[in-house]
């Protein structure tokens, strides 16, 4: 019997009404963004005084979306962000799960020290190291692909890989994998080792297949974090070539503050794919957040 069934009908109605009001509070910026992205500036201002501001009504136009591509170069930034997110998440899944496997399932000296170190590093927020890290990547030797083929450069600044490589290894991802791998029964891998299996085979054929959910969790958390990156590309990628979406958005917003419709179209283009993913994988998003709560 759920608690609600014990409550009186008026109370239940009141709580329902409260939920609906709160839902409106949480949804109206989305609605305003989507509705405005389809209107001319004049129509946006005219609709502000009524509920029409939140509805796609009146003379609708796709011109703002055309403008976001033509003046905002959103296609280029979108390609950069997709590349950065996909590569970082894919490499991260492999690298962090391998490390977690070594920590959770293999016997070696120094293991406890590494685990303790990881727990300490878990609380270092990225913001705290971003400024010195920027100096570091500014001095690392890099490569560039120019007209003369591949050339060595003296800096990682203004590249795609400066937005990928520092984020592949992730303490939090290692920890999420570690907690799951540790609790998988050891009978199978013991038997596999007796039959002469290597640690790689145990990882590949026993551990990975039995921990699908944590791979999904890490994928969602990392993908969201990478997609939404702002501070790091802001300070390390001054040029346009390697610029990701969020920095492109900020630039577009600063340059065209009065073009509300275009800015909202730009925002909608970035947000809608994530919202669609959220609607389809809602259960996994919820699991990811709850999983991240075990951090304490």
């Amino acid at each position: 019997m759920t608690p609600a069934q014990r409550w009186s009908i008026p109370l239940r109605l009141a709580l329902h009404a409260l939920m609906v009001v709160l839902a409106a509070v949480f949804l109206f910026p989305f609605l305003f963004m989507l509705a405005s992205s389809l209107k001319t500036n004049d129509a946006i201002f005219a609709d502000l005084e009524s509920g029409r501001a939140l509805l796609p009504v009146g003379d609708l136009t796709g011109a703002n979306y055309v403008g976001a591509f033509a003046r905002g170069h959103i296609g280029h930034y979108l390609a950069n962000s997709v590349l950065i997110t996909v590569v970082t998440v894919a490499l991260g899944l492999v690298v962090n799960s391998l490390a977690a496997f070594a920590l959770a399932r293999l016997e070696w000296r120094g293991k406890q020290v590494v685990i303790t170190l990881l727990v300490i590093l878990l609380v270092v927020p990225f913001e705290a190291i971003s400024v010195p890290l920027m100096l570091l990547v500014a001095k690392l030797p890099g490569i560039a692909f120019g007209a003369d083929g591949v050339v060595l450069t003296g800096s990682w600044l203004d590249t795609i890989y400066v937005q990928i490589i520092p984020f592949v290894a992730n303490t939090f991802s290692i920890f999420l994998f570690y907690q799951v791998f540790r609790d998988i029964p050891r009978d199978f891998d013991e038997a596999a080792y007796v039959d002469g299996a290597t640690p790689w085979q145990v990882y590949r054929h026993i551990i990975v297949p039995s921990s699908g959910p944590v791979f999904a969790t890490v994928t969602i958390l990392q993908a969201l974090a990478m997609w939404n990156q702002y501070l790091w590309p802001l300070i390390t990628v001054p040029g346009e070539a390697a610029r990701p979406l969020m920095v492109g958005m900020e630039q577009f917003f600063s340059a065209r503050k009065t073009a509300w419709g275009e800015v909202m179209a730009y925002a909608a283009l970035i947000t809608v794919p994530v919202l669609i993913a959220f609607v389809f994988f809602q259960r996994w998003f919820v699991r990811s957040v709850v999983g991240s709560g075990v951090k304490g």
């Binding site: 949480f26 293999l106 920027m134 809602q282």
Partner: protein, 349 residues
């Protein structure tokens, strides 16, 4: 068990990519940050940084006070000499600029600092944390209780309350910047409409008194869904039998909330509060997109100052010093959390 069935270097091979990455991009910059604070290293410079001792910390944190008695309070308000007329040319005040001033009796106390902008930013950051953490946690707890009440459609509502979390903070800031707009923003339109025109339009992001509260409200709106889910998991971990027993004993809904729900959630609430505080102390994106630190420095934050000095002004040593001070703040929060946890005897978690 106990018998090693693999080569002793295998674990290192498995761990190497991640450990090298963490050493290079997490541990090394942290060590670098600490070393940099004792130098005058520039971001782009042919010259390596020189050792300058504690000068960066001195510049960042030095404060002084100037106490003035009124020069003449003849017929009304007391009059004080201009602060600059005293500090200018006076060696003891070299490098100091006024941060804030207040009255003490008939005296005026002017607080001076060598980097008043940083201290103001530090104060702003603390203010943000003090405002946003209780607001966001209370909102999250309210939402969690609501979607845990067993009402119809709660999965849908849970998704709606969570949806801003998946939205990027840059996008949220841009959309809300329009909502906060003085002449055309939806908030002022709604206020004017509700008050039948009695409330004058507020320049939310342009007014020193409202800019930070506006960012607080937006941030709580964006983040509450995340804490809601964690608190929800905590709620569902409380044994239903406790509630049933309390009900048999005639406890009211409020009594059950105070004596079962709140104590049962204590660890979760502490965790949520600490995570929210750490995130709040790193406030940057909202400010960078919406206000650029203004108006009159009222929304500049510690991270904003670190980026301004370290990157935009290329004084990387000074930026690193601010980062280290920020990290010290985080450490303080965690030490306090551990102390609370130990004092309350909160169990094994």
């Amino acid at each position: 068990m106990g018998v090693r069935r693999h080569s002793p270097i295998a674990p290192w091979l498995f761990g190497a990519p991640a450990l090298i990455g963490l050493m290079l991009f997490l541990v090394l910059p942290f060590v670098m940050a600490v070393i940099l604070t004792f130098t005058d290293q520039r971001l782009v410079s042919p010259r390596p940084g020189a050792f300058v001792g504690l000068r960066n910390y001195q510049r960042l944190l030095s404060v002084g006070a100037l106490v003035q008695t009124p020069e003449r309070s003849a017929a009304g308000a007391p009059v004080y000499a201009r602060v600059r007329s005293i500090t200018r040319g006076n060696r003891a005040y070299a490098g100091y600029r006024p941060l804030t001033a207040f009255r003490l009796g008939n005296r005026r106390v002017t607080v001076l600092a060598t980097d008043p902008a940083f201290l103001q930013a530090l104060g702003n950051t603390m203010l943000f944390a003090v405002l946003v953490v209780p607001l966001q946690c209370a909102m999250a707890l309210g939402l969690a209780l609501l979607v845990n009440a067993g009402l119809r459609g709660q999965t849908l509502f849970r998704a709606i309350f969570f949806s801003p979390v998946v939205m990027s903070m840059v996008i949220v800031s841009v959309v809300w910047a329009f909502l906060f707009n003085k002449d055309l923003g939806l908030f002022n339109q709604a206020l004017g409409w509700i008050s039948l025109g009695a409330v004058r339009p507020v320049d939310w992001l342009g007014n020193p008194a409202t800019a930070m509260p506006a960012i607080v409200i937006m941030s709580a709106w964006q983040g509450a869904g995340f804490q809601m889910l964690i608190l929800l998991a905590g709620l569902q971990g409380i044994s239903q039998e406790l509630y049933d027993a309390a009900r048999l004993d005639g406890a009211s809904a409020w009594q059950r909330f105070v004596h079962i729900t709140l104590p049962g959630l204590r660890q979760t609430v502490l965790f949520v509060a600490v995570v929210t505080t750490i995130a709040a102390l790193g406030l940057f994106t909202q400010v960078d997109v919406m206000t650029g630190g203004g108006p009159r420095g009222t929304t500049a934050t510690v991270m904003f100052e670190a980026v301004r000095h370290g990157v935009r002004e290329e004084n990387i040593a000074y930026g690193a010093t601010i980062s280290v001070v920020y990290f010290a703040l985080i450490t303080l929060v965690i030490v306090v959390q551990q102390a609370i946890r130990r004092r309350r005897g909160g169990g094994v978690a």
